[in-house]
């Protein structure tokens, strides 16, 4: 692919010409019927290359291999998360602790860890099951649905409200904000929706300060930074906002890919229905094959990384869709094999390992088990195709399904 003169001018001079690819990673992946097929194509090229649009609309390095992405995640000294992406919206706080590097990072992260430990998450099973059943009850008799709009998209908002102890009356507004945030064509509508959410969260925090109603909010509002002082409003806001964003399009996107896959494999559905103890390992393999989040980092100190000179300020895409399908790490990486029991980079690695990892896995397991118990022969109606988006997260936007009652 050739690089135009104009684009050549935006390529920094430390980037060797032979590593430059004139491509927008997200547009490229979206050109395939299944965007994860892009992984195989990228593996035909260099392990690290410079894409003219890599992440967040900016040019940068793309790491395509499992070992490289893992190594970068474990090196926050060079591959930094320090940023304030919401500053453009006039927001003073940073997503907490996502947009911090060590050593600050751990000072905040340690306050949230106990809320999402495996033990803590085990206690969330009942509310998660209740939401799943409530949404499934509404559609199961119909024998068909548009899975994203009717289930997957609603699920995170329901869960968030219940976990945060927010009133159910807020549900219609939350669903509307979520819909605009994730799907609005006009960026101003997205921003407006985000601001509505944040304004609500601020009011919620103010009320909780007077009378905390959940262990989660009690913990955050009484937490001591470095055992010395309470958190500032910016810090609390940063955490609560991240709790909202973190489990939003990630979970619903994962549900989309899982059910799209299941809809194409009735044998697997039957096997998992008959052997629900296999569902956890099936979910792990789905998480490997269809990783949703494609995070990025920024170089904080110059580094020569596996022969490639990266300068301070360079953006780096952790191309998880490619790393998780790296044939050097996985035999037959494009085959979904529930016996594989893989290592994953789906939830990142290093200090920013997803806080919600245990909750996410449980949510996915619960939904898969609930559907399979009540629906068999889940399939896409003849002629139907999926619609999906790429970008910071990759997700299905429309998935028509039909099934027979069990």
């Amino acid at each position: 692919m050739s690089v135009t003169q104009q684009q050549k001018q935006t390529i920094p001079d430390h980037v060797p010409a032979e590593l430059v690819r004139d491509m927008d990673i997200n547009t490229y992946a979206a050109s395939f019927g299944d965007p994860y097929e892009a992984a195989a194509r990228l593996h035909e090229g260099p392990d690290i290359f410079w894409a003219t649009t890599a992440a967040n609309g900016r040019p940068g390095w793309v790491l395509t291999r499992q070992a490289l992405v893992q190594e970068a995640y474990l090196d926050p000294e060079h591959f930094s998360s320090e940023r304030a992406d919401l500053a453009a919206m006039g927001i003073s706080w940073k997503l907490n602790p996502l947009e911090f590097d060590p050593p600050e990072h751990h000072k905040y992260r340690r306050l949230l860890n106990p809320l999402f430990s495996p033990r803590a998450v085990a206690e969330m099973d009942s509310p998660v099951k209740a939401v799943c059943d409530e949404l499934l009850n509404a559609i199961v008799e119909c024998g068909s649905c548009e899975f994203i709009g009717d289930f997957a998209e609603k699920f995170p908002s329901y869960i968030f409200l219940d976990l945060m102890g927010m009133p159910r009356e807020m549900l219609p507004e939350f669903l509307e904000w979520e819909r605009l945030l994730l799907r609005a064509e006009d960026p101003r509508q997205k921003v407006a929706a985000m601001m509505s959410v944040f304004n609500f969260l601020q009011k919620f925090i103010d009320e909780q300060r007077i009378e905390p109603t959940t262990e989660l909010m009690k913990t955050i509002l009484s937490a001591k930074y470095e055992d010395e002082r309470l958190l500032s409003n910016d810090e609390v806001m940063g955490m609560v906002a991240l709790l909202y964003i973190g489990g939003l399009d990630t979970v619903f996107s994962m549900l989309g890919w899982i059910f799209r896959h299941l809809a194409g494999d009735v044998q697997l559905q039957d096997r998992l229905r008959a052997n629900p103890e296999l569902i956890p390992q099936a979910v792990e393999e789905f998480l490997r094959a269809y990783p949703v989040a494609q995070p990025h980092r920024k170089i904080k100190h110059e580094i020569e990384f596996h022969g490639v000179k990266m300068r301070k300020g360079d953006h780096v895409l952790m191309a998880t869709f490619a790393a998780n399908r790296d044939p050097r790490a996985y035999d037959n990486p494009h085959i979904v094999d529930i016996e594989r029991k893989p290592r994953l980079l789906t939830f990142a690695a290093g200090p920013h390992l997803c806080l919600g990892i245990h909750l996410a896995r449980r949510e996915l397991r619960i939904v898969v088990e609930a559907f399979l118990a009540r629906c068999k022969n889940i399939r896409m109606p003849a002629g139907e195709k999926i619609e999906f988006h790429t970008g910071g997260t990759w997700g299905i936007d429309r998935l028509a399904l039909e099934w027979d009652p069990v």
């Binding site: 893992q70 995640y73 474990l74 751990h106 992260r109 340690r110 860890n113 106990p114 430990s117 495996p118 033990r119 803590a120 029991k341 939830f347 690695a349 290093g350 200090p351 920013h352 390992l353 990892i357």
Partner: protein, 104 residues
Amino acid sequence: MPTLIVIGQAGDERSIDGESGQSLMQIMRDNGVNELQALCGGACSCATCHVWIDPAFVSLLPAMSGQEDDMLACAAERHPNSRLSCQLKMSEKLDGIRVTVAPI
């Protein structure tokens, strides 16, 4: 080569030759101890490489950092001999150390 003895959650025991300087977590993962999840890859950030150390070896280990202590605070079954295996490096002095994979 110093030897690490790993006891699985089911009580199964195996001996692994470890290289001095490698973390106990890495030695276990490299040798197929898959029940040791080690989700964060060794960054003292997940508490899923939690092991119980044979009491005879506890005093030979370097002191726990504040961060390791924080992470173990979230662990399901923390005991005085609990450590995160990603924070412990193999050495000749630890030859024969027995560790038990803790539930997460």
